[in-house]
């Protein structure tokens, strides 16, 4: 964790400030917002009004008149004009010492403003200007940043960032969405919001939790990574429809736009006999968020592979596009494919073998006319853009390149299985195309696969390409702004377990220990009925009753039907996952299941990420008032901090 910068600060004289300080508390409250006047200038013309707000720009003091600009809480601003004939002398003096961002209460008359373009605008002829608090913002650089790139203001000036319209809007939309989500659950689906404890139990195997020392020797709470166990206990407590906007905590590296604390829309339903019952509720919530919350249409993929707008939520069946894990990986090389884009892979295993038993599937992705000025865009081949392995990427620059595979056959990387003509017909590659090929396991544990990563890079590299057409009653729309199109989908039938990754990082291919299993999601997920016996015979071949909610390539949520049979749950803990201390970690859950806990299923949605999507931002920091930075530091209040040994003693701990 980086050292916190020591900031310079002003230290005031230690005497009671003058009596005039009281004037800051005694002022006229705004009678109007700027927006109200904007919407009906004529009505207010020559009327006296009071505005409260901040000086948006440094005042301009001219020989006769002076000018300033006030911004109010609606985020709008208007010009203030100080005229000797209307504005008292003392207000000129006040404005002379004014700094940008000071807060003020201003009285004046609404006047028409001359504009070059003839549009109707107004300004406020000031009759009274009262400063409500001074500002220290004396750096012109900061004032500029404030107007142009508020996100680039120094992070300890978060309050200045937040005053900008972007952040005001973002956090107001977040508030609107959380309220909308709550009313959808409560009013449309009869859910109960229940708060579960944040002082939870330490689960020593999980290295991603925060501990909380108590005032007893060696007794610790832990902050929850999710309310998973409490909500399952709630299912054993007679609540049939639970939800919560829950605070969760994860102590992990904060790269990849993560935060140590985050908010989760958490739900669980009992007496559920099918995943659809959960998915239907979630589809309504997501549909409301995009349609009502942000007036953004939602789409699904129809049987022709086109996008069609989702016109209504349906209480009887799920409507989001469903695809299996195996399909998602085979077609798009990732379990959270961005379905706004087509661009599916072709399986070449009928034509080639790569002589690799563990990674036998050879597949290709063809970017039709993908060459740019005859070249492959660098982003598609840059190793830094790939996790470990990357595919072979070939530009079809001349007719001979259509036989792109020949050189890989020569090198022994590929072995031909059939006629070249069959391959050529199957792929129908032309000059101008880019071919990428790679190999993968039958059930790929690399996620994304090398080719899946290639597809993501291709999607972000090209504008308005590979997009699925939108099907409307008036025909197909091929060109559209993909940032305003949201495709809802479910990915299902995940493998219930993964083998442990034992790669050392240097090998060409990852390697797995297929005798040691990990839960793909968590150990509470039920196996699919048809795979039940595989739990003892071949756990890696068993699929789980898990479902991921994916919107535009983002995993917005994930859920599952749970194991409510205590014996089966114990078998999974003990025999499949080999958790020796399962009783210590999960005994409370087994007890709760044993008390007639009904069948149940649920889901959790990442609320920060969902808000970021809705406001069109790529970072969750844009929808969190006071995010931590990548070192976990809150630059506004300067935490975390060191704590005196004496204080630590009260918690029976000592710093190392």
């Amino acid at each position: 964790m980086k050292q916190i910068l020591v900031r310079s600060f002003i230290r005031f004289k230690s005497s009671l400030p003058p009596l005039s300080t009281l004037e800051k508390f005694n002022f006229r409250v705004s009678t109007h917002t700027i927006n109200q006047v904007n919407e009906n200038i004529d009505e207010y013309l020559n009327q006296p009004i009071v505005l409260n707000g901040h000086l948006n720009r440094k005042p301009r003091l001219m020989a006769k008149n002076s000018f300033a600009e006030i911004r109010d809480s609606s985020g709008n601003s208007v010009q203030l004009i100080f005229r000797p004939e209307s504005t008292g002398e003392k207000h000129f003096q006040t404005i002379e010492s004014s700094m940008v961002e000071e807060s003020c209460s201003v009285e004046g008359l609404v006047k028409l403003k001359e504009t070059r373009d003839g549009s109707k605008q107004w300004e406020l002829l000031v009759t009274n200007y009262q400063r409500l608090n001074e500002s220290n913002l004396d750096a012109a650089r900061l004032e500029n940043l404030k107007h142009t790139n508020p996100q680039d203001l120094p992070p300890h000036f978060r309050y200045l960032q937040l005053r900008s319209k972007k952040y005001q809007d973002n956090l107001k939309i977040r508030s609107k969405l959380s309220n909308l989500i709550r009313s959808t659950f409560i009013e449309s689906h009869d859910f109960t919001e229940i708060e579960t404890p944040l002082l939870f139990k330490s689960t020593p195997e999980g290295a991603r939790e925060f501990l909380v020392p108590t005032r007893s020797s060696n007794l610790f709470y832990a902050l929850p990574q999710s309310p998973q166990q409490y909500k399952q206990i709630l299912m054993s407590s007679g609540f049939t429809r639970y939800f919560q906007l829950a605070k969760c905590f994860r102590d992990e590296d904060l790269r990849a736009d993560r935060q140590p604390e985050f908010t989760q829309v958490d739900l669980e339903m009992s007496f559920v006999s099918s995943s659809d019952q959960v998915q239907i509720v979630v589809e309504d919530v997501i549909y409301q968020v995009f349609n009502k919350g942000a007036e953004l249409p939602m789409y699904i993929v129809n049987e022709k592979g086109n996008l069609i707008e989702l016109k209504n939520f349906n209480n009887d069946k799920t409507q989001f596009t469903k695809l299996t894990y195996q399909d998602a990986l085979s077609k798009y090389g990732i379990d959270k494919p961005d379905l706004r884009f087509d661009l599916a892979f072709k399986n070449l295993s009928a034509y080639f073998t790569n002589n690799n038993e563990d990674f036998p599937i050879v597949e290709a992705c063809v970017l039709k006319q993908g060459l740019v000025d005859g070249k492959i865009p660098k982003a598609l081949t840059d190793s830094l853009n790939y996790n470990r392995r990357k595919p072979f990427v070939i530009g079809i620059k001349k007719p001979a390149d259509i036989k792109w595979y020949r050189k890989f056959v020569e090198k022994g990387i590929l072995t031909l299985r059939g006629e070249e003509t069959a391959i050529d017909n199957f792929l129908s590659v032309e000059v101008g195309d880019i071919v990428a090929f790679s190999d993968r396991m039958e059930i790929p544990y690399e996620n994304p696969t090398p080719l899946g990563k290639f597809r993501q890079l291709a999607i972000s590299e090209y504008d308005n390409k590979w997009q699925r057409p939108i099907e409307t009653s008036e025909g197909l729309i091929d060109e559209y702004d993909a940032s305003k199109v949201f495709v809802g989908s479910w990915v299902v039938d995940f493998p219930l377990f993964n083998p442990t990754d034992v790669s050392n990082g240097d090998e060409a291919y990852p390697s797995y220990d297929k005798s040691n299993f990990e839960s793909t999601h968590h150990p509470f997920t039920m196996v699919k009925t048809e795979d039940y016996k595989k739990l003892s015979s071949d756990p890696l071949a068993a699929h789980g009753e898990h479902y991921d909610l994916v919107v535009n390539g983002v995993e917005v949520g994930g859920g599952s039907r749970r194991v409510h049979d205590a014996k089966l749950q114990q078998f999974i803990f003990e025999e499949i996952l080999g958790i020796e201390n399962y009783r210590q970690l999960f005994g409370h859950l087994l007890d709760a299941l044993s008390m007639g806990c009904p069948p149940h299923a649920g889901l959790a949605i990442g609320f920060d990420r969902l808000c970021a999507m809705v406001v069109g931002s790529s970072s969750i920091r844009d929808v969190i008032a006071f995010p931590k930075n990548q070192s976990g530091v809150d630059m506004v209040v300067e935490s975390p901090t060191s704590v005196d040994e004496k204080v630590l003693k009260e918690y029976f701990i000592k710093s190392l």
Copy 2:
């Protein structure tokens, strides 16, 4: 912290449970709730329905028919009848091994049930009974408790407690109230809900916080006791109307029905020039909670001292009864008086002196006809019921006792200042009355005063006595159920600072160090305008712009106008409170104020306590799903726990 009891548990065989386990996941979902059928039995008569729920009682197996009872999620239950002619043999076998509280799905026909009183009731003639999960509840004692006193079930069976109608209702009302509060803020008052960080900063002087170690040596977060500082920074961030249902944490003794984590309805408003602006919003929220949320009327005290029902929220002015700290203490001996009851004190200082400079005010409380069978109820005199000091309590058993004060004068405890007749006229004591008297400081820092505590004891000792009449258009109502009457009031004009209590506990009177000040509420509260100069001349004489929301003797919330002037705030930290490291603790706040932070004011409501009041419970544990016990232990999941030294090392700490 007490050792957690080790519970016995069943350890299952470590083999995959039989395939029949899958039947638990495959069942018919309920077609109706019991309540639906209750409301229209005729419509459903002889119709087939499916119910999901738990067995509410142990089945009774009879020679021919068998009987059971199912309880569904509506909390209602209905009799199940198993008849050989309708119910398959295998269902009899199932029910034979059934335990109370197992979960089940039952199909059957709605049949009329014969009742002794001739009322129309129904039962379900079972055609199919499917067990969805076994229960371990084999102790008859537990089954009895479940029906009679669910709160007395062992706390690790919280899920059984929660299945009872009382807890189901309580938590559903809590959910309803939080939703109602949110919609009132958002829809009626244009507030924005903003989440503030829970990983906050350690403030070493506060001994009541929880620390959170990080994975860096000697760097800690702390869990917030309230979002106070963040919400003030939000006021400097351009948000004019903020609220949040915020999680707060306090590491303190848990007697007095407190919890280490609790929920607070937190709000703050900027560009506020009077406390009324905040109070009006809060009155609406509270009015909605009681009236809309629970259909409980709210009352205020009118000028005649009677209660009148509050018919409407008023957006233009505050309506709750307002009284000053000094009035509250003089009349009722506490800053949170229960105004449903009259019973005000009489100041006897004109008639007596007690020769105690520091505690010069002699006052009495007379319980008219308070003697019970000629005796003083023991609760009024039991020392255990008082904090430190207690008043003298005298029963007026015979005419001579009307001169009750004579013996105190003889003993030198009181000195007469005037004629006995004047006293007698002033108090007009009669045989059958109880007189209690005590003394206090001019500005009492004992809160409640001894006499205030006496008043509380008297209120809870007598039924339907001392109640203020309710004034209606049809006259006064003297007798009513006080538990359904809620009186809203504001207590204002608190002293801004208290002297430090330096009593050693053995003295008759508490003693104070009047050169060392503590904030009565917190250091961010603004002084009342008229007392500004006292901040330097006599801080103890200064009153603060603080307001407490008091309902029925419970401090439901507290708030204040804040200091938004950085210089004044620094003066209070440094010069009045002598906080040497104020820059380290509060520098971020001073910085935020310095950046043109507008005037602001706010309030926080204890949400758990409010919910408990609404459901008529005296304990917040009744409205919290998983409360900690008085040792801070969560008996359900068994936390806190010990943590391995190896794990602690990752957080750079060591257990002592």
